[in-house]
Symmetry: C2
Subunit: 338 residues, 2 copies
C-alpha cells in the first residue's frame, strides 16, 4: 500500500471478488483496504482463504464499509437485484463505484445508480475487464486502419453464457466494435432455450444499423463448452479471436488478422493467410481495469476533476441494448426498434 | 487417359470450369474428354488458354457433347437458370451429372432434374468440393466423439457471398454438421442488403431444430473481405476453421479443436488451449470430388450398380432449406417452418 493509492472496499464475497481483489493488489495505484460481508465470519474466512494482508479491515456488514471514511471506492459484486439499493447508497456515501456486470435489471434501474453517481460526483465504471486489455486497443487500431480493414460491416460474436451474464459481453463487444453507435433494430434468433424456471440458458440476437450497412449477431449459451469468439468482418479484412473476455494467458493475447485476402488463381487456395497479432500485457486486464478506475478516482479526489462520463455511457448503452433483446424475446422474437 | 477412366464432357466455359477441368485431370479415374460451348471459337480459346490436351474434343454446342456416345458424364457449370433444361436433357441422354451449385432456382426445379436422373439411372452429384476434403471427414469424426465434443448444439457459420452462391455452402455446412436433419424453423436475420436491382448482397438466417437443442446461424455477404468461417459448438468442445470452402493450401488443411476447456483458477486464463488438427490431402478436394463421382459412375457403368442416392439427397435438402430462407426474406424476416 502506498500513501497515495486509492483504497478499495469490497462488498460481498462472490467468487469474482477473488479475482478482482488480486487485481486491486496487482494494480500499482490501488490498495485493498476493506471487505464487508453479511456476516463477519464469512468475511474473515474469505480474507483468510485468499491470503488478504492483515491490514485489510474486515466488516460484518456492507454498511460498515460504506461508512468507513477512509474507503475511496467500492467494488460491488453483489447479485444484480441488489445493485440499485447498494449502488445508490454507495454513491450517496461518496464512494466511487466499480460495479460488476450485468449492472442492473433494466436501464431504468441503472439510471437510478448513474444519477446517484452524477449527483454525488463519484466515478462509475462497470467490471468489463476485457476493455482494458491492450489487445483491445490494438484491435481498435486495426479496425480504424481502412487500408487494412476497410469499413466494418458485420461484427459477429458467439460466446458462452446466458443473456444477462455473457450476453452483456456480447452486446458490449458489438457496441465497442461499432464505436458505441446504437443499432436501429434488434431481433432475437428463433432458438431460445430456457430451463423449467424460465431462466434463459441459450439465446441470441441480430442487430441492424440500417443504412450504414453494419450488422451483428451474437449467440450465447450455457449448454456449450467454454467458447468466447469474437469475429469482425470489414470490407478489406477480418479479425478473429477465440478468447475475447478471458485471454488464454495473462502475459499476452493474440488475434488473427486477415487483410486484403483473395483467392489464388483457379480458386485453389488463398493469396494471403491470416497473421497472428500478439499483444503483450504488463498486468492482467483486470488489474489494468482497476488501475484505470483508480486513476480516475485520484483525478477526482486529488485534482478536483469531474468523473469521466465515458464509462457510465458504455454501461448504459450496453444495458439499453440488453433491454431491447429482452423485449424482443418477450414479444416472441419480433424486431424491436431502439 | 487410362482405358477404364470415366470420360467427362464439360458444358460451358465458366471460370469455375478451369478449376474443375484441372481436377478431372488430377483425378486418377477420370479423363477430360470433351468441352462444348455455344461457339466453337470460345471452346477452342478456352481449351488453348487452359492447356487442354489435343485429345480433348471441342464442340461448338452443348448438344454435340450430349450426343457424343463416348461421353460418360457431364460437368455442368452453366448459369443456374439453364440447369433444368440442360440437366434434364443430359440425364435423358444417359449422361451422369456433376452439377455446379446452386443446383436450381427452387426445390421444384431441382426435383425435375433429380427425377430425370432417377428415371435414366444416372448418377447425380452437386459441385460442393469441400465435402470431399479429408479434413471434412476428420471433423465429422471429432463431432461424433462425444467425449471430445459432446452433443452438437450450436453450429454457427459466417461466410462471404450472396445467398444463392455462398449461402449454398453455409446451409450445406449446417446440414452436414447436423447429419442432414432438417431444421424445424428458419428465420432470416433483420439485416438484408440488396442492390438497386434487388439482388441480395448480404443476408443471414438462423435455424432452430426445436426440442433436440440444436441451433445454427449463418451470415453471408458480398460486402466483406473474403472470409469462410465455420464454427461448431458442442457441449464438450468446439471446432473453428476460417477456410472451410477453399482451404488455404492444397496439400493439407487444419482446424482448431477445443475440448474440455474450462477457466483456470480465478478465471485468469484457460485450462486447455485449442489444438490445431492438421489433415493432409493427397489430391486437391475438387479432384477428390471428381474421383468419387467417377467411382460411382464406374460402378454403374461397369458393375451394374444403381446410382448412389446420398448425393442427390444432400443437394435436395440444401435446396429445400435455401428455399425456406428465401421465403422468410419474402415475408419480411418472418419464421418459416420446414
Amino acid at each position: 500500500m502506498t500513501e497515495n493509492s486509492i483504497k478499495f472496499g469490497i462488498l460481498g464475497c462472490a467468487q469474482i471478488a477473488r479475482k478482482v481483489s488480486r487485481a486491486i493488489h496487482l494494480s500499482p495505484n490501488s490498495t485493498l483496504y476493506a471487505i464487508g460481508s453479511r456476516s463477519i465470519e464469512k468475511a474473515n474466512k474469505f480474507a483468510a482463504d485468499n491470503g488478504f494482508p492483515e491490514t485489510v479491515k474486515i466488516y460484518g456488514s456492507y454498511n460498515e464499509v460504506l461508512n468507513d471514511p477512509d474507503v475511496d471506492a467500492v467494488y460491488m459484486p453483489l447479485p444484480t437485484t441488489l445493485h440499485v439499493h447498494w449502488g445508490v447508497l454507495a454513491a450517496e456515501k461518496k464512494k466511487h463505484l466499480l460495479l460488476e456486470k450485468p449492472t442492473a435489471l433494466s436501464v431504468a434501474d441503472l439510471d437510478l445508480i448513474l444519477e446517484a453517481c452524477r449527483a454525488n460526483g463519484v466515478q462509475f465504471m462497470d467490471g468489463s475487464m476485457w476493455l482494458h486489455h491492450p489487445r483491445t486497443a490494438k484491435m481498435k487500431d486495426m479496425l480504424r486502419d481502412t487500408q487494412l480493414f476497410g469499413q466494418l460491416n458485420s461484427p459477429d460474436l458467439d460466446s458462452l453464457g446466458a443473456l444477462g451474464d455473457v450476453g452483456w459481453y456480447c452486446i458490449g463487444a458489438i457496441l465497442w466494435a461499432t464505436d458505441y453507435k446504437l443499432p436501429k433494430t434488434v431481433c432475437t434468433l428463433p432458438k431460445l432455450t430456457c430451463n423449467q424456471q424460465g431462466v434463459i440458458l441459450a439465446c441470441g440476437a441480430s442487430f441492424d444499423w440500417g443504412e450504414d450497412g453494419k450488422a451483428a449477431t451474437f449467440y450465447c449459451s450455457f449448454l456449450s463448452n467454454v467458447s468466447m469468439d469474437l469475429v469482425l468482418y470489414g470490407t478489406n479484412g477480418s479479425i478473429h479471436l477465440e478468447d475475447f473476455t478471458i485471454p488464454y494467458e495473462e502475459s499476452s493475447a493474440s488475434c488473427d488478422l486477415s487483410s486484403g485476402a483473395n483467392f489464388a488463381e483457379l480458386q485453389v487456395g488463398w493469396t494471403v493467410k491470416p497473421v497472428k497479432v500478439q499483444v503483450a500485457s504488463e498486468l492482467p486486464q483486470e488489474a489494468l481495469m482497476v488501475q484505470e478506475f483508480a486513476r480516475l478516482v485520484e483525478n477526482i479526489k486529488k485534482n478536483g476533476k469531474s468523473p469521466d462520463g465515458k464509462w457510465p455511457e458504455i454501461s448504459r448503452k450496453t444495458q439499453l441494448v440488453l433491454d431491447a433483446v429482452g423485449k424482443s424475446i418477450e414479444l416472441g422474437c419480433k424486431p424491436v426498434d431502439i
